[in-house]
Structure formats: C-alpha cells, structure tokens
Amino acid sequence: MAEGRVVGIDLGTTNSLVAYMEGDAPVVIPGADGSNLVPSVVALDPMPPNGSRPTVTVGNSARKALIQTPERVIYSVKRLMGRSLQEVHDELKLFPFRLAGDVEEGEVPRIQLGELRFTPPEISAYILRQLKRNAERYFGAPVTQAVITVPAYFNDAQRQATKDAGRMAGLEVLRLVNEPTAAALAYGLNRAKEGTIAVYDLGGGTFDISILKLRDGIFEVQSTNGDTHLGGDDIDNLLLAIALDEIHAEHGVDLRLHPGAVQAVRKAAIEAKIRLSTEQVAHFDIELPNGDRYQREIPRDVFELLIEPVLARTAGPCKQALADAGITPEQIDEVVLVGGSTRIPAVRELVDELFHLSARGKKPHIELNPDEVVALGAAVQADILAGASKSTEEMLLLDVTPLSLGIEALGGVVARIIQRNSTIPASATEHFTTGVDGQTNVAIHVVQGEREMAADCRSLARFDLKGIPPMSAGLPRIEVKFLIDADGILHVSAREQRSGKAAEIEVKPTYGLTDEQVESMILDSFDNAESDFARRLLIEARNEAETILAAVERAPLSPAWAQLRGEEQSAITTARDRLFQAKAGEDAAQIREATLALDQATRRFAELMMEAAVSSALRGKTMDSAGEELAEAVTAPHAMAPAEFK
C-alpha cells in the first residue's frame, strides 16, 4: 500500500497498545520486550553531565524508575488531558505529581518532571511515539497514520488534546474512536450479528457505557454515558489511603512524605487488588523505612464493601444510557465487558444485576482480553478507514456525541443546539443579531454538558463575531454553523446574511493549546520525516553490523574455529569482507542483507561453540540467538541486537 499502514492505538490510562489488521484479524504489536502492553508511564532520565536535554523513557523501564526517582516519573496522565488548571488541581490531590508553578488560569497546565515541564498532551505524545516506534520496528517501515481511541464520554477539549498529542508524536490521527465502540467492533468482526448490545467499559481511569444496534455490518450507537473520573485508579487510591493511614497510626511513619515509598505501597495495593479477583484474601507485607513491617490481610468481602461506592457510581450512567436509548434492560441482547477493572467479580455481579443477565440465562462477553479488545477494535476501524480490505468493507460505525452542545443565552441559561446522543457528524445553525445600534461584534459562549446553567457546564470556547457591518440594532442576521465532526470535535463558521459578509471569527478554546503551541511541541525525533526514518534504519543496520563484525573478529581465538573446515573459514571471511564494504555505504537494506549472510555463514561455528560450551539442546540456532542464550554461561561470540526486520 502506497500510503503505508494505518495502526489502531489504545491510549489508555494505565496501559497503551498498538494493533493492526493482519489479513482479516486484528493483532496487537508487541514491543521490543515482547510485551503487548506498554505501561502509560513516562520517565525523565537523569540530566546528562554536559547539561543537554535529558532523554525520556516510556513503559516498563519508566515504571521501574517510579520507586527510585518518583519526582521524574508520571503515570495516569490521561486523567489530566484537556483539563483546566482547577480540574487538574482537584485531580492531583490523588496523585503525586507537581504542577509547574508559573501556570496561569486559562493556560494548559504543565507538570514539573525533574528539571523540565510538560503539558499533558506532550506526555501522551511520548507514549504515542513509543507505540509508533514499536509498530515501525515490527513492520520495518514508517507508520504515519493512526486511529486513536478515547473514552466515549470525553468532551471536546479532551478529544482535541488527544489529537494534539498524536500530531506531536508525528502521527496523522485519521479518526478518534470511542473505546466502547471500538470494543464492539472487535467483537462484531466476522460475526453476522444483529441485535442490541451494551458495552460496559471500566478502565484504569474512566468509565463508559455505550448501547449499540448492530445491523448489516452497521454499528449504530444509540446512546452513551459515563464518567471520565472513575476507574481502577480510584480503587487503588482507596486501598493506598487505608494502608498509609494505618501505617501512620500503627507505626508512626508518615509515608506521604516519602514519594518513593508511597509508590511502593501503591504497587502492593494494585497487586492485592488483582489477587482479590481470583482469591478470597490478599496480604499486604511491606517493609517500612524504619525497619518495621506493615502486614495486613484483606479479605475479599472487606474489599468489596470498600469499593462498593466506587462501583455504584457506574449504575447511574448505565440507567441513563438505557433511558436515552429508549429501551429496558431486557431488550439488551448482549453485554460486552471491557477494561481491566471488569475482572473484579463484584463488577461482574453489578453488571449482571443492571442488565438482568443471569435471570435471562445470559452471560457477559469476556472472550477477548479486556486489556486488548479496545486496541483490536481500533485496528478494525483503522482497516475500515484504509478502505482496502474485504473483511471490513461492509462495516460502518455510526457514533454519537456524548454531551449536549449549547450556547449561553440571556441570563446565563443554556440554549441546547445539539442534543447528546446525536449521531455524528451533526450540525446546527443558529442566528444571532445585535442589541445596540452600530454594534460590530457579537460574543458567543459555547458550552458542553447537560446542566441548565452555562456556569455549570463545561466551557468549550468563547468567540467574537467580528466585522459585522454597522446597522440598526436587531437588523444584522448572523448565521453561525456549529458542526461536530466524526471525531466528536466542534467546528464553527459564521456569515452575516444581510450583507453576505463572512464574519470573521476567532474561536478561542477555553482550555487547550493553540495551533502554534502544538506545532512547537512536535517531538524532535527521527520519526518526523521519511528521510529521518531512513537515517534511523541506516544507523540501526550499521550498529547490528558492527556487533556481528566484532564477534567474528574474535572468532579465530575460539577453539571452535579450528574445528571448521577451510572452506567454511574462507566463507566466513568473504562474508565478513562483504559486510565491511556494505557498512561503509548508505544502503541500509544492503547492510542488513550482508549481516544476515554473515550470520548464516557463521551458523556452524555458532553450533560448534555451543556444543563445546553447553548442551546440544541449542543446536540449530544461529550465532545471533546462540549469543543471547549463552551470554551468561560462557563468553559469548557476540550478543547481537536481534534484527527484527521482516
């Protein structure tokens, strides 16, 4: 495909994944460590001695830094995406992150990480860049287009922030897809299903419920609801708070003053939570800085009592979604569970109750891994957008806007112009006029939410219709068109109808980055341009070549070398010389090919070395893998970085 592959990305609160369609089935792309999940954790490495900008690591390695250098690590950044300073303040009460001191109300909040400050979209961009690299490593080709999932209940600002993050990471975001809808796509693939399904998605930091009607490959969302402040994090924080309080009371140690220790307890809390999904009791056993041990048993029934209020908060949105879809629980044919938190037995019981499942002899769908199903669905949507595949050509997703759009009318009341659960794209046209003779500006305040008063809704944007021709009050007729696109993001355009003049409008988002700001935050990396990518491939290919060349250089010192026949030895030397030559050139493909040839030529040598060194069980391996496996047992011929290009 000329334009390259489109990948599907689940940018999660706790973990992120990238997936693509392989033939007619979506698969998750593993990282270099072989793991499908990339923890959504970003760490700033120590400041280099020369004072240059510290590098950033993402995923498992960043998570390890959480206990040693908590002040340089951030997790759960999704909870901060598209949020105002005030909202972030509230959120940060539960998290150990520090806000940069100089942020003013109205600006996008920045988080202090070591010496540097980052906006939430920048942090997310680092996660996205890691996923992009994982995919590029897997394909051996650049990846520039993606579908990214967002919680269905994300508002305009949160969606825009996610799109900004994609752009900073060098990805063209072809579509934002709602997570529960993506899960439905993953389940609906290759099943000629008809009926009404509910997707209950309780993730790390957000809760969504969506009700969809499936018919002839069309996935039509009927209603959606949720809470973008509700998830596994809240359960972790409950357990954490109890442990910290008890440690303080029983051992006189206030761990809250030791961020690293808090993270250690948090880790233990998460492990206990996970264990309680399969066992009746979990144990805390933590060594405290003063040498004491904090030991505690948590029986499952105590845990369930504790989390009951958190889980109960999912019931309201479910009932509202049913009411908005105009159906009863009995009319739901199937329920799909998504998100790691749905592994908790108490959550499954609640879902069973809410949708009257076991009473009707039904069970929720859990066949697909709840951690992966959203990414798999994103890959399906990516394939639909790429438009080149038979398996998805009949599929179409019709999603809705989760929140009503309104404008502030006289007295601060909201006049709704697009109702929640309207299929998107959706539009509305409103007419405005002036209140004073000669007035040339009209101010408009756009809000999102269900409350009666604008002050209680989420402010999206304020803008001025400028350049209205001076006329008597009430005479101008300004037509403003509001359009919510397929990503759930608002666009506004305006025209003065009497003079036919297009009124100039500058939509200033209440919270969010300007285009210029996003532009300036695009990650400086090799990933941005095609030529940079080729350069990176070349550098990697040369590194691989050097590793194997260095090993071959040492080969004659090994006793195994003498066991080779003369022509085998000369084949190795020839291959070595060829690689030497290739390495001096600029063609990465040629270097890789010569590397592979040398690796093949040394196959028997590697076998002989292994035989000599350990067991015959490793026979048949190439020098490359033998090197890895022998690394600890013997002096390995070489520990070559695995060549992953396919």
């Binding site: 949507q381 790429a386 539009s427």
Partner: protein, 230 residues
C-alpha cells in the same frame, strides 16, 4: 412551497463537469460526492414531505446513504471530497434525527411551511407565559401554587401527604391530556398527508396549536416530576 428537484438550480459537477440539479448528494453521471445539496430534509431521502413515514424504510435508506457518504469512506480522499463528505453526512444525520422522531418531524414540516413554533428541545422559551393555553389557565395557576407550596415544604423538610397526592393526580391528568394531544396530532397527520391545499392549511393551524399545547403540558409534567422526585 418546497424546494424540490424541479425547482433546484442546475450546477456543474466538480468532477465530470456535467450539469445536474442542486439537490443531489452524488453526481448522477459520475457518482462522485457533491457539496451539500440545497433541498429540505425530506429530499435528502428522496421523499415528498409527509407526516406518516415508513420508519423501517427511512432507516434502511439512512444506512444505505451512510455507507456511501460517511467520512470513514473518505479518510484518504482529497480535501474537497473529505469536506463534502463531512457536510453531507452531517446533513443526512440531522435529517434522519429530525424525521425519525414524530414530534420533531411535525415541527420541522410546519416550520418549512412558515409556521412559528417554539422549540421542544431547547431551554429558550421554557418559561414563556404568553403561550399558556386558555382552557388551562385556571388549572395552571392552581398547580403553580401547589408546586410552590411543595417546594417550600421540601426546604423545611415537612411532609404533606394530601398535597403530594393532589400533585400526583394533577400529573396523571396532564399525562392524560398529553396522550390526547398525541392522538389528535396523529389524526392531523392523516388529514395533512391526504388533503388538498385548503385541508392542509386548516390542518397546519391545528397542528401548530396542538404542538404549543403539547409543549406546555410536557413542561408542566416535568415540573411536577421534578418536585415529586426531589
């Protein structure tokens, strides 16, 4: 009266340059997507304006058009086609949302015909007192007194079962009135769809009055529900 296929302005297709009328989503010659057409919501579905609609057929057509128009089908198309796909799909969705709902459909048709009616789903004219139906004046006055009293009771945490029962029965009564209005509306649909110009004119006036009454009643029911459920 309506902007129909015949009265539409002919325009040239951007792709094949052959002229076609302005109310089509796709060029009849080269099938390429066109900028949003000028017609009304009914014409998006290729139907004449009417009030009794075959909802299954409407849904089928909605799905058929969605498959061809949706931005997902144009993710890698050129910019102008992308833009029109977005605008056309918004129009299709707006049209479907309006036409599939009987009340919105009726309001929309009446507005097309020039009637001025309030907006069911907007907070804008909720408290507009000028639209109180004459026969309800007395009851509404009485009801508002009771609602005030009830709200005051709530604040003081006092209970008044008699008042509560009276409000509940008022609510039942208004619910019944709503159902009667809906019946009348359905009757008018038949008349309008089947009628000539004169019959339609009379039917339109009745429907405008019925919708006003309906909106007023449903606001009352909501107010009572709010107070009783508080």
């Amino acid at each position: 009266m309506f902007k129909t296929l015949d009265s539409a302005v002919p325009v040239a297709c951007w792709a094949c340059s052959i002229g076609h009328n302005d109310s089509t989503l796709f060029c009849p010659h080269c099938s390429k997507i066109q900028p949003p057409p000028g017609g009304d919501y009914f014409s998006v579905f290729g139907i004449e304006p009417k009030l009794n609609l075959d909802l299954a057929a409407l849904e089928h057509e909605f799905h058929r058009l969605s498959r061809r128009l949706h931005p997902d089908r144009f993710a890698r198309a050129q910019e102008n086609e992308k833009e029109w796909s977005l605008a056309d799909t918004a129009l299709l969705n707006d049209a479907y949302r309006t036409l599939k709902d009987p009340l919105r459909r009726t309001e929309y048709l009446l507005k097309l015909l020039g009637a001025e009616i309030g907006e069911e789903n907007s907070g804008k004219d909720r408290k507009d007192p000028s639209r109180v139906p004459a026969d309800l004046l007395e009851e509404v006055f009485e009801l508002n007194m009771q609602l005030e009293e009830m709200r005051a009771n709530r604040k003081m945490d006092e209970e008044d079962p008699a008042l509560e029962a009276s409000l509940a029965s008022a609510k039942d009564k208004f619910d019944g009135m709503l159902a009667a209005v809906d019946d009348d509306l359905r009757g008018e649909w038949e008349l309008w769809d089947a009628g000539g110009a004169a019959a339609r004119g009379a039917s339109q006036r009745k429907m405008v009055a019925l919708l006003d009454r309906r909106r007023y009643l449903s606001n009352l029911v909501r107010d009572v529900n709010e107070v009783l459920g508080a």
